[in-house]
Amino acid sequence: MRKFDTKVQNLKYQVLREVARYSWTDQLLEKELDIPMTIVPGRTATMRCCVYKERAILGERIKLAKGGNKDNPNVIEVIDIACDECPVGGYEVTNACRGCLAHRCEDVCRKDAITFDSYQKAHIDKTKCIECGQCAKVCPYGAIAHIERPCQRACKIKAISVGPNSVAQIDDEKCIACGACVYQCPFGAIMDKSYILDVIDMIKKSNNNQDYRVYAIIAPSISSQFSYAKLGQVISGIKALGFFTVVEVALGADMVAYSEAKELAEKGFLTSSCCPAFVDYVKKQFPDLAPHISHNLSPMGALAKYIKDNEPNCKVVFIGPCTAKKMEIKLDKVKPYVDSVLTFEELQALFDSKDLDIASMEEDVLDNASYYGRIFARSGGVSDAVAQALKEQGIDNFDLKAVPCDGIEACRVALLKASKRVLDGNFIEGMACLGGCIGGAGCLTHGEKNKREVDRYGMEALEKTITGAISMLDKVNN
């Protein structure tokens, strides 16, 4: 069974696994330098120009697995020596150009940048070209290609530029830590910092959860992951790592949906607050709209707060698909409640660092949340849940017009309209990743069937209503 989408993920995983393996037994300091040799043995290079460069890059990956550069506030980092300095050609005529008679490319170019040689083949004058892409659109042979770096193409908010030595450079003022570049860079040159060592340390020092308890709170998108095992087995695996217990973040989503519906009805216009990358984007690019961001914590924050309010000395670790959550827990509003964040990639590495074969474990149970809390994991889910929460609370004097935005580009369009007061809607559901959280950069696999998996997981919830799921908490807290 394939665990990852790409070899890049697999490589990153191997590093995390080895770092974790030695960290459990307090041997990391002495064994750290051996890890590159274990992963790239022998003398034949398979990825780069030579094994020495391969190992040097692994050394950098180890640094990131250990938490990365502490002086860099961004949780996403470029590994300079891993960046392959991809060409940045822009629009170029390829040899598929047939030298036709029509010359549509020439006609459509407003800058007269296209000329023809004696064979009638087109050429683009780069001093005139403004990269509008019209020529590529009209060419009947599709002969004009857009040569762009995958990281820049992935970064829809244009936070990545070409820095010194042609190495990719992230503008921290713009970056929202969504991790799109991390997943898309074919050389794995951009990575999210990992906090696995903090988590391992937390578990070890808990003295088998005697001194304090370590809670794992898991994002609902987990239902589309670890497809080689059953969800109940994943829960057993998490407990076998040393977590005290596992609680669904979907319960936090139920809480959020419930109070977000109220807030929306009061204020009349709102954006969701569950996606940290989206929230960061609004703050950075549309500061005027920032007051309209829902004042609720994200589902992660809401659930963690509930747990900490009941048990102040415990530790809470969020496990999810998201790199931006690593940034969210640094926010003052969230810091007191969530102690660390792991991605599903990192969870897989932790399982294997202890040689846990989760597929052969017994199935544990997981049931805290409702259908609606669970479908937060996919685009459109928050809107559905808020509609349901309005209904359940009998708020019928408010006409919900939700605008679910799938991916940061769709978010940008909706926010732009909202800032000009021409948005046809009163609730923006912002999800930075395509498809919602199931498209997150920290997912092991991304696929078409993931949305179905999330919906199925939602249907399996014992609680059919939001009120049903959170009423227990309300009851016992009043």
């Binding site: 959860n209 809670y215 829960i235 005290f244 217990t245 596992v246 609680v247 669904e248 747990i307 009941n310 048990e311 544990d364 149970v365 997981l366 049931d367 805290n368 014992l462 009423s471 227990m472 908490l473 009851k475 016992v476 807290n477």
Partner: protein, 88 residues
Amino acid sequence: MMIVQVCVGSSCHLKGSAEIVELMQKAIERDHLESEITLAGSFCTGQCNRVGVTITVDDQVFTGVTKDSFSEFYREHIIEKLKREGSI
């Protein structure tokens, strides 16, 4: 003040902790013990049982409480304890 925590973790939730919470609330209300007992929730206490729900009374953990055994549990471990402590 006695603190009674009903587990609302996954395992107990599936075994009916919602009903137990309700029974507990009703009993407290019936006996006018609102000022003696704080009812709270807890996530897993790590004592999941094959039957019933886990309830923590102050620092003592009881497992396997079902809606059938509830009144017995309530009488023995809550009312009697309150009496022993001289609260009622």
